[in-house]
């Protein structure tokens, strides 16, 4: 509970305006890399071809990005989640895929040594890794940046940015939780926005950039995810050991616009997802240790929009249209096949959709009427404000985004250093 309250904006979740999706937006130094599952995938041609045609940016291609992917991978310890430690949930996933003739592959994770022989359960690492295995930026990039002179200011919420000729002014509130903030102002020759899809869009909208950048806040995607459960007679122990082992690698699933992964969550989150209330809900929770769990992650096509309400409050508009709902359905049907073929006595579809791959809002592109950031990672019409994170994605790739965010950030750093020379 404490990690959810304290490590996420809104004290746990933010909801879309129609409450269809619960948005999980990390609020911690290191961002998503602290709380995420650290699964690292390169984008395929399907994703990058779409990115290129939406943006007109040539380097969004496998060949052109390969050196940046290599560098990003070189900055991490990457491991396939070890087979010998796989738990009952992973075995159900693999068995169900085999019985249904679906293709699957091992997941690759940024982890150094999870020390499974000590009995560790990676589900605990969703609140941050306590054995320094997860390759978060706190372990990788930040210490190196500090060696190069970075000064890190934590507990700062920036709310205004303004470009003034030869410098940029940023304003925000400083102070620890439980205290009213103190207003402070900083100025710099350049600013690189890295507040994520919602953070960057919100900051720029609140600073009045909406008028000159018509695409600001638009093209927002989340890969809506739905966890579905199979209830088994024997204990599954889905919470023990590695949390995830496998992903779908089925070309049919990719064509249909969804992917599947074995996953699980702690009791408080599972209770949120279980439909119903009262004694019936409690009886379901009694089966917690007998749940197999697979999530369907939708490659969403219907873009959302981040905007500010009349009082300046954040509004996240994001609806699943008929295509997106069909993608969810197709994934849920495949999960049902998997569970039933493995002997589940019941299949339960999770109640709440989750958005945790938050992408877009400041899309990269060549056309200033349809994008926010140019191919040089600089805001259209600006020479000193840059963006290099998930906010620049022009579409939903349908693949875990973190490695590509890192690769594009390396590419951005070259452009920005070049511009600064």
């Amino acid at each position: 509970m404490d990690s959810s309250s304290q490590l996420y904006w809104g004290g746990g979740v933010e909801l879309t305006t129609n409450a269809e999706l619960a948005i999980l937006r990390p609020k911690v130094v290191g961002g998503g890399s602290i709380v995420n599952q650290a699964l690292m995938d390169r984008f395929d041609d399907v994703a990058l071809d779409d990115f290129r045609s939406a943006s007109g940016v040539d380097f969004l291609a496998s060949d052109a990005l390969a050196p940046y992917y290599e560098r990003a991978e070189g900055n991490l310890v990457l491991q396939e989640v070890p087979e010998q430690h796989r738990n009952g949930n992973a075995a159900i996933f693999a068995g169900g895929f085999e019985r249904n003739g679906y293709r699957y592959a091992p997941l690759r994770r940024a982890q150094a040594d999870c020390r499974f022989d000590d009995g560790n359960s990676c589900i605990e690492c969703l609140g941050g890794c306590r054995v320094d295995s997860k390759q978060s930026t706190a372990i990788t990039a930040l210490p190196i940046a500090e060696q190069h002179g970075l000064t890190l200011l934590d507990q700062v919420e920036v709310d205004q940015i303004e470009e003034r000729g030869d410098h940029v002014v940023v304003r925000g509130l400083v102070g620890p939780p439980g205290h009213q903030g103190r207003r402070q102002e900083w100025s710099a020759q350049r600013v690189v926005l890295a507040g994520g899809a919602i953070g960057n869009s919100r900051l720029l909208l609140a600073s009045g950039y909406g008028g000159r950048l018509p695409a600001l806040g638009r093209n927002f995607f989340t890969h809506p995810q739905f966890m579905n459960f199979g209830v088994f007679d024997e204990p599954v122990h889905a919470h023990r050991g590695p949390l995830q082992n496998y992903k779908s690698a089925d070309p049919g699933f990719r064509r249909q616009g969804f992917k599947l992964e074995n996953v699980f969550a702690g009791p408080a989150s599972i209770a949120m997802l279980m439909p119903g209330y009262g004694r019936a809900h409690m009886r379901r929770m009694r089966d917690y240790d007998h749940f197999g769990c697979v999530e369907v992650c939708v490659r969403d096509t219907n873009p959302g929009r981040i905007r500010l309400g009349r009082k300046g409050q954040l509004l996240i508009e994001k609806r699943m249209d008929a295509v997106d709902r069909q993608r969810r359905r197709a994934g849920a049907d495949a999960i049902r096949n998997i569970f039933l073929s493995m002997g589940a006595r019941e299949v339960i579809e999770g109640d709440v959709g989750i958005g945790l791959h938050l992408m877009g809002g400041c899309a990269i592109g060549t056309d200033p009427t349809r994008s926010v950031v140019g191919p040089d990672f600089t805001l259209h019409g600006s020479s000193r404000i840059h963006a290099a994170d998930s906010s620049i994605f022009p579409k939903a790739p349908g693949i875990n985004p973190a490695l590509t965010i890192a690769a594009l950030s390396l590419k951005a750093s070259e452009s920005i250093l070049e511009a600064a020379r």
Partner: protein, 157 residues
């Protein structure tokens, strides 16, 4: 919220909680227990929401909520302190069946459902002072930090 914690555009401060300690009034506490017992009435060796003692944990949640969410929650809890139990049950039932209603009503009920679950279910199933609900359902996830610390010391030597 003081003007100091407002942005120049009047945007409410999103990330950090207010300075004054945020807690429930006695009426709000009563409302939370009554609402909680409808959602979690107890079942055999699983205690009810009020029996579990988890409600005190709300003080660890409230400070991190957005002001608007917090005040909607407090209003709901005040209502639950006064409403007859069947009315609370009706609210919970409608919220849980949100998708059976047409939009935009469905959206409002979904919001209520997630809000109620987010507080009641999270407090109870986080097992803070609930006398071992994790044990009852078989959740025993751990990280062996002692072994890690010992290994670190070993490599430092």
């Amino acid at each position: 919220m003081s003007t100091d914690s407002q942005t120049p555009s009047g945007m409410p401060r999103a990330g950090l909680p207010a300075e004054a300690p945020v807690g429930l009034t006695p009426a709000q506490q009563r409302g939370l227990l009554r609402l909680g017992d409808v959602v979690i009435p107890g079942d055999g060796d699983l205690p009810s929401f009020s029996e579990s003692g988890c409600a005190d944990g709300i003080d660890r949640m409230l400070p991190y909520m957005y002001e608007a969410d917090r005040s909607s929650l407090l209003t709901l809890l005040e209502a639950c302190a006064r409403l007859p139990r069947p009315a609370i049950r009706r609210i919970v039932a409608i919220a849980a069946a949100a998708d059976r209603f047409p939009e935009p009503a469905a959206g409002v009920f979904r919001l209520a459902n997630i809000g109620i679950k987010g507080v009641v279910q999270s407090l109870y199933w986080s097992d803070i002072g609930t006398g071992g609900v994790h044990l009852v359902i078989g959740h025993d996830a751990t990280i062996n930090e002692a072994a890690y610390e010992a290994a670190l010391k070993e490599t430092e030597r």
